[in-house]
């Protein structure tokens, strides 16, 4: 067991387990933590874990874009908003442990169970031959070639988001 652990494949498997654990633990922190800043940190940990999983799925480009966009921009924006909008920490006092968490747990658990059963039981048909290598070059060519409409659409969406955020932010200045 130790001998196969020291090969590159063995160490890679260990790293994969660590990354999977980081994803799961980060998600648990994000939904359960009392203070919102800790929830944001848990979210960033989970997203770094997902980036690691993308690396194991043979796309390092997407792994780095995930860290750049999600952790670097979205995580920072949410943390900034928490700093500005929640001077006090913790849940509101006097909120009884009602039926809310219980039903949430049951509902979430049933969703996970259903998805896992569907995923594990179905016989997925594998593709025989891959058309291209899926490298960064292929993604670039596809984005400007056959999937150029996706590119245009996402630019328009981001432009509208910027204009909308500016418009909403201006209102407080009058």
């Amino acid at each position: 067991m130790t001998q196969e652990l020291l090969t590159p494949q063995g160490l890679g498997g260990l790293v994969f387990l660590a990354i999977g654990a980081a994803t799961v633990i980060g998600a648990l922190i994000a939904v359960n933590a009392k203070s919102l800043i800790r929830a944001v940190t848990g979210l960033c940990l989970s997203l770094i874990g997902v980036a690691g999983l993308y690396y194991f799925l043979n796309s390092p480009f997407l792994a780095l874009m995930e860290i750049l966009i999600y952790v670097g921009a979205v995580g920072v924006a949410i943390a900034f908003a928490v700093m500005l909008a929640e001077p006090e920490q913790g849940d509101k006092p006097g909120r009884a442990i009602g039926l809310g968490p219980f039903f949430g747990f049951i509902g979430g658990g049933m969703l996970v169970w259903g998805l896992v059963v569907v995923g594990l039981k179905t016989k997925w048909p594998a593709a025989a031959v891959k058309i291209n290598t899926g490298s960064m070059l292929a993604v670039g060519k596809a984005l400007l070639g056959s999937y150029s409409m996706v590119f245009e659409l996402i630019s328009v969406v981001l432009l509208m988001a910027i204009i909308g955020a500016l418009a909403l932010g201006r209102r407080g200045r009058d």
């Binding site: 260990l14 387990l17 999977g20 919102l36 993308y54 999600y70 988001a161």
Partner: protein, 108 residues
């Protein structure tokens, strides 16, 4: 069940993706504040995106398509987070609170 070879099976990624989705759902129901709900929504989208990428690597004939869709989801998530945070700031300015229970001006 070989523990060290988990990364080469499709099922691992499906299970992790389902877990992220379920955790996000649980958080969406349980979090009292708007920002907590936004965090849970980001988890849900991550789970969906991981699913796309897993199928892209193991089953798809064109491995570019899943990556482009995952990039699309990232762009949409970023735009949505920006707009949601602006709205939350505007709401905070008016109501001085970001708990969803306090936003009840239209109630009754």
């Amino acid at each position: 069940m070989d523990i060290l070879n988990l990364s080469s099976h499709l099922n691992t990624y499906l299970v992790v993706g389902a877990f992220l989705f379920g955790a996000g759902f649980y958080g969406l129901i349980n979090r009292p504040t708007l920002i907590g709900m936004l965090i849970s929504i980001e988890l849900v989208m991550s789970g969906a995106s991981l699913n796309f990428m897993a199928f892209n690597h193991f089953l798809a004939p064109d491995p570019v398509m899943g990556q482009i869709f995952a990039l699309f989801i990232m762009g949409i998530a970023a735009a949505e987070a920006a707009i949601a945070l602006s709205i939350i700031m505007a709401v905070y300015r008016n109501y001085k609170s970001i708990a969803a229970e306090d936003l009840n001006d239209l109630k009754g």
